[in-house]
C-alpha cells in the first residue's frame, strides 16, 4: 500500500500527501424522482442513502451488493455523471460536489470511469485510434510525440496491438473491447478510476486477463480504484477494502480480512454464505437473510 503510493508520488503524478484520502464521500444520497399515485404526485426512489467512505491514494475500494442496491448510482455520482441529492464529495481536499465548467473539465481528467458493457460504450463508427484519442482532443491536449504516438502507447499498455489503431470496435472480441475502454480511461492519466462491473460480461478466462491488467496498472501507475462488482470473489481478489451496500445503504465497510473472514453485519454474512464455493463439493449450508423468498 504505502510503497504503491510512494512510487506514484516519486513519479510526480501525485500531489496529495499520503495520509490524506484522495476521495472523501460523506452522507452521499440520491433520490430519483418518479411519477406515482393517482394524481401524478411526485415520489422518490431512494437509490442511495447517506453513504460515506474514503479512498486513499493507490488503493482499490470495492463496492459490492445485489442488483438495485445503488452501486451504479454511487459510481455515477463520483464521476459527476449524476448530480447528488445531498452529501459531499471531496477530491484531493477540494469540495467537488457541485463543480462546474472548467473545474469539472479538469476533474474529468483526474477521475475516469469504465463501464460493464464494452459494446455499447464504444462508438461503432469510430476507429479505435479515434476513440482512445477523444479525451485528449476534447481537453486540447497534445502529448509530446503527438496524439497518434500516445494512443499507440496506450494500446500497448493495455495489451492491444498498436497496429490496430485503424480498426473498428466490432473487429475486436469482448475482452479486447474492454481493453479499449481501459485505454481510453487512461488517456488523461487519471488518479482515480471508477470501474462499474468491468469484467461481469466477460468469460472467465478473459475476465482473468482483464483483472490482471487492472492489477498491473494499479501497481505501475499508482492508480486508485472504486471497483464496483457483484462477484464477491473478484472483489476480494482486486480490493484491499470493501464496502457492502444493501438497499441504498452501506451496511459494512472494512478490510478484505474483516469483510471476508469476520463479517459483522448479518447481510454481509448472508451474502457471503450464498456464494457457491468452488473449493467445496456438494451442498453448502447458507445463512438465510430475513424475508428470504424473492
Amino acid at each position: 500500500m504505502t510503497d504503491l503510493a510512494d512510487s506514484a508520488a516519486s513519479g510526480g503524478t501525485l500531489t496529495t500527501p499520503v495520509s490524506e484520502p484522495l476521495l472523501k464521500v460523506e452522507g452521499l444520497t440520491k433520490h430519483y424522482p418518479v411519477r406515482g399515485g393517482f394524481f401524478g404526485t411526485k415520489q422518490f426512489v431512494r437509490a442511495v442513502e447517506n453513504v460515506s467512505f474514503d479512498v486513499r491514494p493507490g488503493e482499490s475500494l470495492g463496492l459490492v451488493g445485489e442488483s438495485g442496491c445503488g452501486k451504479t448510482t454511487t459510481g455515477r455520482m463520483l464521476v459527476r455523471l449524476l448530480e447528488s441529492t445531498s452529501g459531499k464529495i471531496t477530491f484531493q481536499g477540494e469540495d467537488i460536489t457541485h463543480a462546474k465548467g472548467t473545474r469539472l473539465r479538469n476533474l474529468r481528467q483526474d477521475i475516469q470511469i469504465i463501464f460493464q458493457d464494452p459494446y455499447s460504450s464504444l462508438n461503432p463508427r469510430h476507429t479505435v485510434g479515434k476513440i482512445v484519442a477523444m479525451p485528449l482532443q476534447v481537453n486540447g491536449i497534445t502529448p509530446p510525440g503527438g496524439v497518434k504516438k500516445r494512443v499507440q502507447e496506450l494500446l500497448d499498455t493495455v495489451g492491444l496491438n498498436p497496429e490496430h489503431y485503424n480498426r473498428y470496435p466490432h473487429e475486436f472480441s469482448g475482452g479486447q473491447r474492454q481493453r479499449i475502454g481501459i485505454a481510453r480511461a487512461l488517456a488523461l492519466q487519471p488518479k482515480l478510476i471508477v470501474a462499474d462491473e468491468p469484467v461481469s460480461a466477460l468469460d472467465v478466462s478473459i475476465q482473468a486477463q482483464v483483472i490482471n491488467l487492472l492489477r498491473r496498472l494499479q501497481k505501475d501507475l499508482g492508480l486508485s480504484f472504486v471497483f464496483i462488482a457483484h462477484d464477491l470473489a473478484v472483489v476480494r481478489h482486486f480490493c484491499e477494502r470493501i464496502a457492502v451496500m444493501y438497499r441504498g445503504e452501506m451496511v459494512e465497510i472494512g478490510t478484505r480480512e474483516e469483510i471476508y473472514e469476520r463479517p459483522s453485519h448479518p447481510y454481509t454474512q448472508a451474502l457471503l454464505s450464498a456464494v457457491p464455493d468452488v473449493t467445496k463439493i456438494g451442498r453448502t449450508k447458507r445463512i438465510k437473510p430475513e424475508g428470504d423468498v424473492r
Binding site: A233, L272, A274, K280, G282
Partner: protein, 357 residues
Amino acid sequence: MTTSTSPAEVTVDPDAYLQVRDLKVQFPTEDGLVRAVDGVTFSVRRGQTLGIVGESGSGKSVTSMSILGLHNPARTKISGEISIGGTNIVGMKEEQIQRLRGKDVAMIFQDPLSALHPYYKVGVQIAEAYKVHHPKASKKEAMTRAVDMLDRVGIPEPQRRANQYPHEFSGGMRQRAMIAMALVNDPALLIADEPTTALDVTVQAQILELLEDLQEEFHSAIIMITHDLGVISQVADDVLVMYGGRPVETGSVEQIMKRPQHPYTWGLLASVPSLHGDAGADLVPIKGNPPSLINLPTGCAFNPRCRYAGTNGNLSFTERPELRSAGEAGHMLACHLSAENRQRIYAEDIAHAGVAQ
C-alpha cells in the same frame, strides 16, 4: 454419467435415462459450416446431475437444444444418437418429439421471459402446459395443479400469484414460475441452461436449493449448463468440460474439480479468483480468445491458447486428441500430454492459482 475404464473410447451407461452418442450438430451458414457440436458422448441417470461447463460458444446450448429437438431440421445437420428413456429422437418427426417435450424432457433458461408469455396470467400458462400432456384434465384440475406447482417452487400466496402476469413477478419469482411450468408434468429429465446466471447470489442459492429438493422428490435427471464453476461444485455429480464443440475432459465432480487433468480445465480453474487463499497471487488466465467454430485449428483445437502445446513435439498441431482414460475409472480426457507431464505441470504451474489453490 458413467464412462468406461477402457483407454480407447467413451462408453455409455446402458441403464441411463439419457444416452447421447457421438452427437454432431452443424449449421450451414453463409460464412461456412458451423460445427457447433462435434462428437459428444455422455449419459445421465435419473436422480443424477450432469454439469456441462465451458466458455461461451463452446456448444453447450446447442447440445441441450438438440436433446429437446429444438433445432430447425431444414437448417441443421444432426447425427449421432440421443436416446431418451429408450427412444432415439435423432431423425424423429416433429410431432413425435413434441409429445416428449414438456412431458419427459423439460428445459429452463437464463431468461424466464423467453418461456413465459407476457400477455397471459402465470397460472393459466402453467395450466396450459399441463393440459397439453393431460388432455382429459378439466380446466379446474389443471388450474389446481398450477397453483400447487407454484406452491411447490416456494412462491408465497400461490393462489393470488397465479392470477398475476409475468411482469408483476421479480426476477427470482419469474425463474421459480418457469421452473413450476417446466416441472408441471413431472419430467424425467430437466435441462437447466444457465438458469441462475442473471440472478443475484442469494436468489441463485434459493433456486439451486429448490432444484435439488425437487430432484430428490421427483428423482429426475438434471443437466446443469453453466460457466460458473462454483455452481458446478455445488450441484453436479458428474462434469463434462466442453471446448470448441467437443468434450475435452469428463469425470466425477471430485475428479474434475480436485484432480483436473486437461490444460483447458486448468485454465478455467486458475482464472477464477477464490473466496479463500492468497488474494495477492495473480490469476493465471488462458491467453487469447475462444475459437470460431467454422475454422477450428488443426490438431488440438486448444493449441493456440495452450501453454503446453509444444511439449509433445508436433502432436498438438497435427493430430486431434480423442477422449481416453485419464487414469482413474470414469475420468477421461482429450490431450496428448503424458500422465507424468500432467502431474508435473499441475504441481508446478496450476495448484497455487485461482480456485485451484
